[in-house]
């Protein structure tokens, strides 16, 4: 009785771990099967960017907020809100770096692209936060992020899921 229950619990724990894998499948797949692209990156929070070991990033070569510039009528606004949700950003090479094009709503046929979400207005592609291990104050990665000379190494898989591998000073 007891041993069978212990066996059942062990099996349940294994199954639960597999379920976690299902929940985080997209970034996990990108991390292990994705193609590597390099994007320019800087800190998003310029007031106190290194308060802890996690840094919010922004990508100058990707479309930022989807909020349209200038006057927008009520109906245009509603149309925009109805459209928001899954957003695709096609990527194209520019020298050693990659840059993103405008947001499209249909999945691109070819080439690396990012599958993002802009239902909360801000474009979220799963690469917005970096862990910068706490080191010395003159850490080269932090210095590069501050001065805008940093690049992010990102892996993108065939369906656009992205995973941030690391942030480096651009050479």
């Amino acid at each position: 009785m007891t041993t069978t229950r212990t066996t059942r619990v062990a099996a349940a724990v294994v199954a639960q771990l597999l379920l976690v894998g299902v929940a985080v499948w997209a970034p996990l797949a990108a991390r292990f099967t994705g193609e590597e692209v390099v994007l320019r990156v800087e800190v998003a929070d310029t007031y106190e960017p290194f308060a802890d070991a996690y840094v919010r990033l922004s990508y100058p070569d990707l479309p930022g907020e989807v909020f349209p510039e200038g006057e927008v009528s009520e109906t245009e606004m509603q149309q925009l809100e109805a459209e928001m949700g899954t957003a695709f950003v096609p990527l194209s090479p520019q020298g050693a770096l990659w840059v993103g094009g405008d947001v499209v709503r249909d999945e691109p046929q070819a080439g690396p692209f990012l599958r993002c979400d802009d239902s909360q207005w801000q474009l979220r592609c799963g690469i917005e936060t970096a862990y910068v291990a706490s080191g010395a104050e003159n850490d080269p990665v932090r210095a590069a992020l501050r001065s805008g000379d940093a690049v992010a190494v990102v892996r993108v898989d065939g369906s656009g899921h992205a995973a941030l591998i690391g942030v480096e000073p651009s050479s």
Partner: protein
């Protein structure tokens, strides 16, 4: 009561088993009953004394338990504090692994406690249940930390769904009610979110909740089929049935609201899939269950059907001052149906011997009547009239429940004779 009997010394000619713990209320009842038996000549003096001698008074709250609980709470709070204060310096992987360690630690602790309980019987059931509940909750921390560590870009309902599935798996692995309650609640929440994520209209919300209710009630009823009351599976059916009852009352509550919300209100795939599952399990429950089971399943199905009709029968009620005849009719039908279903649950609570069902149904009735009265009937009913109405409804419920109880007692007698 002035019972003078004190548990006498154990009578030597009986093989003396381990004394069993009982609360003082239980012992008081037993002593009165034994006295009746002795007076009727059912048992002799020696047997009566032996029966009384088998039980010892057990105080529910002992000093040891208070200290143990307090100690566990302090250690738990300290751990959470430590983790929270140092979390922002940990790498994503360390964060995730820490949650896994906490979760597995709780699962192992629960397992050790369960062994101890089986071997020595020293671990009280609520302590074991609490640790298992914590283990099922900690699994949620693992799921969400995993998603955060890997930066899942959209925190959709899938994470809650995975948590629900994990909690249910664990609950059935240990046959534990506490993690099961969490799992069922999460599963219902996940389903409602999945539907509202696509279409956040009242029609979809009310239908999703009512559908989840039919599934929960039917699954609960099926637990009881083929197993005796009080045994493992039947006990696991109780949270399904009772959470299902809560969902029935909630879904109907939303469906009966007079307000109109925009939203497509149809064509949500998840709702159709949910309805298909509900149809299958409800049919099984209706076919296999006994009379009480059929009443319980039928109530949930009725609430779903009426809820859908009420949701579709909506007027563009923007101003509550000038209600049309149709709107009045809808309001009266909604109130009548809600009262019928809530009373059904109050009676069912009596039949199932569940105080929670009866009180839950009564509380839902009060809330529903108050909301409907302030939302719709405020124009014609004063506060005083509202209270009289609620009172009358409660008295009616009480009388019905009492009649149900008396009938049960009568049927019980007939079955015995």
């Amino acid at each position: 009561m002035t019972t003078q009997h004190v548990a006498g010394p154990a009578v030597p000619e009986h093989r003396d088993p381990e004394p069993r713990p009982a609360t003082s209320a239980q012992l008081g009842w037993l002593e009165r009953e034994v006295e009746h038996w002795r007076a009727e000549g059912l048992v002799d003096e020696a047997t009566a004394a032996a029966i009384r001698g088998r039980y010892v008074v057990h105080r529910r709250v002992t000093l040891a338990r208070i200290v143990l609980t307090l100690g566990a709470v302090f250690v738990g709070l300290g751990l959470i504090w430590f983790v929270a204060s140092s979390l922002d310096q940990m790498s994503p992987l360390v964060r995730f692994l820490l949650m896994v360690v906490v979760w597995v630690g709780l699962v192992v602790a629960a397992e050790l406690l369960a062994h101890r309980r089986e071997r020595l019987g020293t671990v009280p059931a609520p302590v074991l249940g609490a640790v298992r509940l914590l283990a099922a909750a900690a699994y949620g921390a693992v799921v969400f930390q995993g998603a955060q560590s890997l930066q899942v870009s959209t925190y959709g309902p899938i994470l809650v769904g995975v948590w629900a599935a994990g909690a249910l798996l664990y609950a059935y692995a240990v046959r534990g009610v506490a993690p099961l309650v969490l799992g069922i609640g999460l599963a219902a929440y996940w389903f409602a979110w999945q539907v509202l994520d696509v279409d956040d209209s009242m029609v979809s919300g009310a239908t999703a909740i009512a559908t989840a209710a039919v599934v929960a009630v039917s699954v609960g009823v099926l637990h009881g089929v083929g197993s005796r009351a009080g045994t493992g599976w039947a006990v696991l059916g109780i949270p399904w049935r009772e959470i299902g009852a809560g969902l029935v009352l909630l879904g109907l509550f939303i469906a009966a609201l007079p307000f109109d919300e925009d939203g497509q209100g149809e064509g949500v795939l998840a709702v159709w899939l949910g309805l298909a599952v509900a149809a299958v399990v409800a049919s099984l429950a209706l076919l296999r269950g006994d009379r009480t089971d059929r009443l319980e399943t039928g109530l949930a199905v009725l609430a779903l059907a009426v809820g859908v009709l009420l949701s579709l029968w909506r007027f563009d009620t923007t101003e509550l001052e000038n209600l049309t005849a149709g709107e009045w009719l809808r309001a009266f039908v909604a109130v009548a149906v809600y009262l019928a279903v809530a009373r059904g649950y109050a009676v069912l609570g009596g039949m199932r011997d569940s105080v929670r069902l009866t009180w839950g149904a009564t509380a839902a009735l009060v809330v529903f009547t108050t909301v409907q009265a302030t939302a719709v009937f405020a124009e014609i009913l004063s506060g005083a009239a509202l209270f009289i109405l609620v009172g009358a409804v409660l008295i009616g419920t009480g009388l019905l429940a009492d009649r149900g109880r008396r009938r049960l007692v009568r049927e019980g007698k007939e079955a015995v004779s």
